[in-house]
Symmetry: C2
Subunit: 410 residues, 2 copies
Amino acid sequence: MQVSKFIGFDEALRFVVENVRPSKPETIPLSEGVGFVIAEALQARVSCPSLASSLKDGYAVVSKDVENASDGIPSRLRVIGRMEAGTGDRLSITSGHAVEVTTGAPLPEGADAVLAVEFTHREGDEISCYRDAGPGRNILAAGADAALGEIVAIKGTRLTPPLVGLAAASGVDRVSVFPRPKVSVLATGTEIVAPGLPLRPGQLYASNMVTLRSWLKQFNMECSCLIAPDEAEAIRDAARRAVEVSDVLITSGGAWKSDRDLTVNVLRDMGLELLFRRVRMGPGKAAAFGFIKDTPVFCLPGGPPSNEMAFLQLALPGLLAMAGLPSAPFSTLEAILTEEVSGDEDWTQFIHADWVDQDRRRHVTPIGLTSRLQSQARATALIRIPEGTTNFRKGEEIEIQILHRPMGLC
Amino acid sequence: MQVSKFIGFDEALRFVVENVRPSKPETIPLSEGVGFVIAEALQARVSCPSLASSLKDGYAVVSKDVENASDGIPSRLRVIGRMEAGTGDRLSITSGHAVEVTTGAPLPEGADAVLAVEFTHREGDEISCYRDAGPGRNILAAGADAALGEIVAIKGTRLTPPLVGLAAASGVDRVSVFPRPKVSVLATGTEIVAPGLPLRPGQLYASNMVTLRSWLKQFNMECSCLIAPDEAEAIRDAARRAVEVSDVLITSGGAWKSDRDLTVNVLRDMGLELLFRRVRMGPGKAAAFGFIKDTPVFCLPGGPPSNEMAFLQLALPGLLAMAGLPSAPFSTLEAILTEEVSGDEDWTQFIHADWVDQDRRRHVTPIGLTSRLQSQARATALIRIPEGTTNFRKGEEIEIQILHRPMGLC
């Protein structure tokens, strides 16, 4: 493959998502499982509930006994005992009798309905019933939530909190999931300094590295960080270490074509097979992707907006796909442009923007600060101008990716 | 206050959010800060960049020297040296001279523009310049991203990944944040069994506890779990332990009015001061809220939908407020109802629902499965029918809370 040419953004994204492989499944405790995608169907190991049980505090009755009960003509029944949730005592009734039950209590044999306590009046062992209760009323049948052996979630399902709850109720205790990949971020550049160290004139703190690490953290992925100067040997050593300890290597900087931009060349010497080296997207055109043996490698450019955009639009979708998740990291919504935006006919353009809901309409405004870092930090959305399209006028609707809610909560 | 009466849902939510206190700020490494709200403004400790620097690989020039340069009539300049990012060497130029610069390199003294390498042709020490480059072109001024002492984020800002990056670039290394509260979840019920243990007939796995723990995990909050049978002493001991180790206590079960529903009464004996005990909301009416000394306590009902709904609509907003976050856990959007829904005039009703975007319209369908646990697990949204409203017809627009995207990613 001729990788030195530019490829279109959509094609690049497809290359990434189709070529990364799902992580090897791991078994973890169910209670740690929220957010993971399951690698095997979840099957109920018990019936839930294990016995038919009452949904209310009240009286277990034979429904026929109360079918004509009303305020004016109550039915009268004799209470022969009481059953509570979790105690294991079982009673049985026949017509004319009732058993007091608490919420969650199993039903006495012979009962087919529960009359809620608020529709009864008790004196001694007698109750007056002021309402009917048809067969099954206020009863949760055995296995209603999950029957022994029932599939409660198919392979590929993402574990949401209530699904974890349903699985727990079904007796599931451990789950096989696609783990999220462990990532190494290697920042290259002789001028780059790790946060916390002193800064000499002309040097820069490794803000790209910190930004990527924070995105990874937000998506619950582990990240190791490394910094190497623009020297082949240092980059090679760091990359070798990264490939050993991580599932994915992301490099930052040195991905363009000047003679100092060593990274891609050093990695190719190490066996990096590239699937693409340049993408018709802005910012982020100098994004390369390939594999060293089985390890996916993303070489991202060093300019802050290029670095972050190539990460969000190409690398992050690949990482999510490895974890079995939908590859699009962000929700998309339609919003009305408050000013014109333009891109290039043969290029996919991403623009930092700010969105707001006002008067039941959603508006989006491009952010054009001189400081690129401040534009990134201010953005709550990204406008995408796809290849083949150039201008969108003020007032037009455009699709935006929601990075966070304006108030700051994801 | 007379707490035995029902209060409206909106009032209950206001009581929670207005009465919890923000967590005591803690200082943490910036690299761990994403998602936290800062308790102090972030101030730049260095200028970024520290020196004016080149945004391109190219040649630093005196802009006047190239103001008439074109393909037809190139300007010719003598290259007197090369400057790279991070090496610290400084040169200076006067008219007629240029210095080769790499991206990120500081500018030589005397230069006021950088001409990108693609608009030049070099032979030996001479370059031909084919384009102009006005003053400032391709130069990032010193302090353009952040000037020493500049406030880069005000108190109360949520740290997003690129804001963490900007802070790192500004020399910030540690941040003061409002920590997320540590929560104890105490599940009560003699029939309740911890996942992983064997289940006897009539017993239930503690699915509410697991669901709440998973929600807390999804919102990055630590959670300790405890189970106590319906016995005053056991509940008291567990609650005492929970209050010692946690910032917030959430109980599950035993919050309604039957004689077995001990939890609230036991906690009141321990000093619980209630702000409300019942709420005009469904599911979730038996939700109580108050304080044991300074510790917020939420007593949630034991029915699974009531438990989760009272947690999501009342407890979780309080927990988020303690962390300085917006109290609404979920985005709201408008969606078109695919069938009629109804509530009660004097009641706030929440309905599990499923939403989908189709043909550029968003539709929402109530989920009415017999199994409450399955309805919860299937829901991707919640419909809210506010007090004072009863019916919404098929085809009407209604506000929904987005629990997750239908494809399963938050």
